[in-house]
């Protein structure tokens, strides 16, 4: 099970980083989403994996998984949503202002690397 989680984190990170390095906005947004998944699972895994041990206090249950990483990840999920939303709207603004979907804004933006221009 641990291997499945670890390899998933690895694959999601790799895909996220690759998309993050693309030159156009939407793949970058998706890449960031994938990286968020990877990070959240990573954080969650700091409490180690446990099956059938939710942190819901019950007099009959003796074994609980670590609740703290879960609390951290819960807010992280919601914040990632806020960040994704802000990012995609910024991409939209940039697109509508410059007519270019490139992450560095318009074609006239100073100091940009020309090799990835459309």
């Amino acid at each position: 099970m641990e291997f499945l989680v670890a390899s998933s984190v690895g694959v999601l990170t790799a895909a996220g980083v690759y998309l993050l390095l693309r030159a156009h906005t939407f793949p970058v947004v998706l890449g960031l989403t994938l990286l968020s998944y990877a990070t959240n699972v990573y954080l969650f895994a700091t409490g180690r994996l446990a099956i059938n041990a939710p942190p819901l206090i019950d007099a009959q249950v003796a074994r609980y998984t670590d609740p703290l990483p879960q609390a951290l990840v819960l807010t992280a999920i919601v914040i990632s949503f806020g960040m994704t939303a802000l990012l995609v709207v910024m991409a939209l603004r940039s697109w509508s202002a410059s007519g270019d979907d490139h992450v560095d804004g318009g074609p006239a933006a100073p100091g940009t690397a020309p090799e990835d221009r459309r």
Binding site: V78, W95, G99
Partner: protein, 940 residues
């Protein structure tokens, strides 16, 4: 209490003085004067105690864990400095009232002046070195504002910047030095540190601490080779120069040398560093002063020279030299402030400060001339004025100095030479300006200024004469109190007097006076040989160094970050990869031993699906819609994974967020291009793939290594306390709304801000004017199927009930404000999708800004409520109510907090979604002809 108030009063007065300018210039200056006077009166009320050698202490605890406390202490040295700061400050306020013209904003001037005054008082009264450093930096900042007060003058701006750069750089060094000092003495309390002389001098860290602290003192007190900023600071209005460079700013460094004298002085390093620097500064300053033509420049270099004198005396390390230093601090402040004010009067009335164009002003301005003669003679060291007293004591100490690097008379000779130069430039200041024939036709008809301008220097000149005539009576007790505070012990028997009989010092004094007169007589030829010599320009060197540093920084920055996000991100990821693998490869690795869970078939199926979906995202990422669908699949599997691995709350949240995210990205895709163009350059793609694989291997490997090891958690406390302390069985929710409620409060605030930012970004109706026409009509015009519309209305009711259920049970079972907020948001968003924006807008009149604001307010109020009960912020309470029929109900105050979370989540989510959904194609103000597309025209 009255002690901290002395420091606080100027700070309180600063904003008030700035406001009072609306009632006129007199009211403004009057306010500033009143606050200074109040502090002055409070200070004087402590005089009897201080003269008896009993320091006064007061203060509050501030950050005891860091050793930073608001401790203040008033002893003889602090009293003398506070007296100068406030006494001369009062005179400066009066003088400035008449000096500044009607065009100068007096409100800000008085505010800066008072802030500076307060900061200086803080330095001299603080009894905690960290607190002292805070005030030290404040003086650098407020003096920057004062020096650059005439913002329209480039000289003023450059001078202020140079002063700030030099003194703040020294301040940084001093922070390090003070921290070392506090570390060695095991206390940041100044009076404790002063008791630790032996421990500090024996410590191996003594020399670094000394060097760092001296860097701070020497930059502040303009000691060679850091003296160059002071003359450039003369671009400030004259009242500022008079205040900063006679009694305050530059004296701060000297003050600190005196303050730390008991622990730092006495070593060979101290002697050679401090005494030599002082001697060189004294000589160099006096030499340059003689050949300056601007009255203020003469005074500036003379100040440098006199500060060198005081530094040298402190460097000698003997109690009598320290006493002479203290006396000279008092004397220099009195005559130098008067001379600066006189220079300002001359400038004001004659229209120039150039000595070459002035002359014979005594007839036109008899009052100013009398004051200048007396103060200037004191600066030259002519008996019976106060400047003579301390200069003779300095010469006396110099002759007593038996040994400077094996040389017995060198210091005395050089000190006499400096005294001779000082006589020459002082008398030049007086004679070339006020006597002889007028040398140029002046624009103005010079005459004596209004009383408000000559009374302040006149008061100081009275002191100059009186202290000179009756030193023991007037200043004896105060100087002795201050000097014994410097030495931290008893002083040798001494008497302040004009006449000590015939001794070597008297001889040297007379020699200095005579040779100074001769030198002034031969000024023309001396000037010629000076002009022939080389003149290194400190400003050019300083600018060169600054330019070099700026260029270097720019080169490095632009080398790493040329404005391309891709490049920057590649560097960031690459750095993490290199650092991570570097550390991994250079440290021994052992496989973890924690037992792993078996992989059940269902988990393997989920894993395969996740891999396939991720692969699909990568392969299809140029087709944005398909990629998005696959991202949704990944999110779904992640959420299932959370459910499988005992995290029901996370599973609920993840799936709800997934839905909202996909809706949001779909809405955005309606405006963005559908396809990503293919990127050229397979090399670039290969590089990115390499980075990505490395990052993935690193992250996956790290999480694997972590999960296969045992761990300790602090969650035992949360598990134990969740029910008794937090009143809820769902530990995750209790942590969110109770134990770590402050974090959650921060996070909902961030979420709200993100939503408001989205709204602000889209408020002007940003269209995709360049966009290809959307293939499907945007959501707002969807007159979708009737079935869907009806179903969604029923769904709304059901969803809200589900949301309420999830919210209410959240404290004890999976759920809570976050999830409930997302569920209700989805239900409301579905209405927009099913009915179209126009219908939904008319039927659901909710302004989504409101819940965000109220949510934060509710959460904050819940937290603040704990204050009323005397508990820390966000302490929660549980009430047990007996409700008929329902039975016992637990109401935790955390539930109100969760309501705040709920409101923010609903407001933020819907504000983001509706802002995006309201965008219309072709709404924008700017449109590039021919690219707007058919749809844009059709919409319009």
């Amino acid at each position: 209490m009255s002690l901290p108030l002395i420091v606080l009063l100027p700070f309180i007065g600063a904003p008030l003085a700035a406001l009072m300018i609306r009632a006129g210039r007199n009211a403004c200056a009057g306010t500033a004067f009143a606050f200074s006077l109040g502090a002055f009166a409070l200070l004087l009320s402590h005089l009897p105690d201080v003269l008896q050698g009993e320091p006064i202490e007061a203060g509050w605890s501030w950050l005891p864990s860091l050793g930073l406390d608001l401790d203040f202490r008033l002893d003889g040295l602090g009293f003398l400095f506070a007296l100068l700061i406030l006494g001369i400050g009062l005179l400066i306020i009066v003088y400035a009232r008449f000096y500044l013209s009607g065009r100068d904003p007096m409100g800000s001037f008085m505010a800066y002046l008072l802030a500076f005054q307060g900061a200086m008082l803080g330095i001299v009264l603080a009894d905690n070195v960290l607190l002292l450093l805070v005030f030290w930096e404040l003086t650098s900042l407020s003096s920057f504002l004062l020096i650059g007060y005439w913002k329209h003058l480039p000289d003023g701006r450059q001078g202020a910047r140079m002063a700030l750069t030099v003194t703040a750089a020294g301040g940084l060094a001093m922070i390090a030095g003070m921290l070392i000092l506090g570390d060695v003495a095991e206390s940041y309390r100044l009076s404790d540190i002063l008791q630790q002389a032996e421990a500090i001098q024996a410590s191996p860290h003594y020399l670094p601490a000394l060097l760092l602290i001296l860097a701070g003192c020497f930059t502040k007190s303009a000691q060679f080779p850091f003296h160059f900023w002071l003359p450039h600071a003369m671009a400030a209005p004259t009242p500022v120069s008079a205040y900063l460079h006679s009694a305050t700013m530059v004296k701060a460094g000297v003050f600190l040398l005196a303050r730390l004298w008991p622990v730092l002085a006495g070593s060979e390093a101290w002697f050679y560093l401090v005494a030599t620097t002082g001697l060189v500064t004294m000589l160099a300053g006096a030499l340059i002063a003689l050949f300056k033509d601007d009255l203020k420049a003469v005074l500036a270099y003379s100040t440098v020279s006199h500060l060198g004198l005081v530094t040298m005396l402190l460097g000698f390390g003997t109690p009598m030299a320290a006493l002479a230093a203290v006396l000279h601090i008092l004397n220099h402040a009195s005559f130098k402030a008067a001379l600066f004010m006189i220079a300002g009067i001359v400038d004001h009335e004659a229209g120039t400060r150039d000595i070459r164009r002035l002359g014979g002003l005594a007839q036109a301005m008899p009052i100013a001339a009398t004051l200048a003669v007396l103060a200037g003679a004191s600066m030259a060291g002519v008996p019976p004025l106060n400047g003579f007293l301390s200069k003779e004591m300095m010469l006396q100490e110099a002759t007593l100095l038996a040994d400077w690097a094996g040389n017995a008379w060198l210091v005395a000779a050089l000190a006499t030479l400096a005294a001779c130069l000082s006589v020459a430039y002082s008398l030049r200041f007086v004679i070339h300006v006020f006597f002889g024939r007028p040398r140029a036709v002046l624009a103005h008809h010079p005459h004596d200024p209004p009383a408000g301008m000559w009374l302040p220097p006149a008061l100081l000149v009275v002191l100059v004469v009186a202290i000179g005539l009756m030193p023991s009576t007037l200043a004896g007790a105060l100087v002795a109190a201050a000097a014994s505070a410097v030495t931290g012990g008893d002083l040798p028997a001494h008497e302040l007097a004009l006449w000590h009989g015939f001794n070597p010092a008297l001889g040297l004094s007379a020699l200095a006076l005579l040779s100074g007169l001769v030198l002034l007589k031969a000024y023309r030829s001396a000037r010629a040989s000076w002009s022939a010599g080389p003149h290194p320009q400190a400003k050019a060197m300083f600018d060169g160094v600054i330019d070099y540093v700026v260029d270097l920084a720019r080169t490095i920055t632009q080398g790493l970050h040329n404005g391309s996000l891709q490049r920057q991100l590649a560097f960031a990821v690459g750095a993490v990869v290199v650092l991570g693998f570097g550390t991994f490869l250079t440290t021994p690795y052992e496989a973890g031993e924690r037992a792993t869970l078996p992989a059940e078939p269902v988990a393997v199926v989920g894993w395969l699906l996740l891999l396939a979906a991720t692969g699909a995202v990568l392969a299809l990422h140029r087709n944005r819609l398909l990629a998005l669908v696959n991202v949704g699949v990944i999110g779904l599997i992640v959420s299932l994974g959370f459910a499988y691995l005992s995290a029901p709350d996370l599973a609920l949240t993840q799936i709800a967020v997934e839905v909202v995210t996909v809706i949001l990205l779909l809405l955005a895709l309606a405006h963005l291009p559908r396809h990503t163009p293919r990127e050229t350059g397979w090399l670039r793609r290969l590089r990115d793939a390499g980075l990505a694989v490395a990052a993935g291997l690193g992250a996956g490997g790290a999480v694997w290594a972590m999960m296969t090891r045992e761990f300790e958690t602090l969650s035992g406390y949360y598990l134990e306390q969740s029910v008794p302390g937090g009143g809820g069985a769902n530990v995750v929710n209790v942590i969110l709304v109770d134990f770590r409620g402050f974090d959650t409060f921060g996070e909902i605030t961030v979420l709200g801000i993100a939503a408001l930012a989205i709204y602000a970004l889209l408020d002007r109706g940003t269209p995709s004017v360049y966009g290809a026409p959307p293939a499907v009509p945007p959501a707002q015009d969807a007159s979708n199927s009737l079935m869907m519309a009806v179903a969604m209305r029923i769904m709304l009711t059901l969803s809200i009930v589900v949301g309420a259920f999830i919210f209410l049970r959240g404290h004890n079972a999976p759920g809570g404000g976050f999830v409930a907020g997302l569920v209700v948001s989805i239900a409301l968003a579905l209405q927009y999708m099913a009915h179209g924006m126009r219908w939904a807008d008319t039927h659901m009149r909710i302004d989504y800004h409101t819940p965000i604001g109220w949510g934060v307010v509710v959460a904050a109020t819940t937290g603040l409520g704990a204050w009323l009960a005397g508990h820390p912020f966000l302490t929660s309470t549980v009430w047990h109510l007996d409700v008929p029929v329902v039975g016992e109900v637990h109401i935790a105050s955390a539930m109100f907090f969760d309501t705040g979370v709920f409101l923010v989540v609903v407001g933020a989510t819907l504000l983001a979604l509706t802002s995006l959904a309201r965008l219309r194609v072709g709404d924008g103000p700017a449109r590039k002809p021919g690219t707007g597309g058919a749809a844009a025209r059709k919409e319009a």
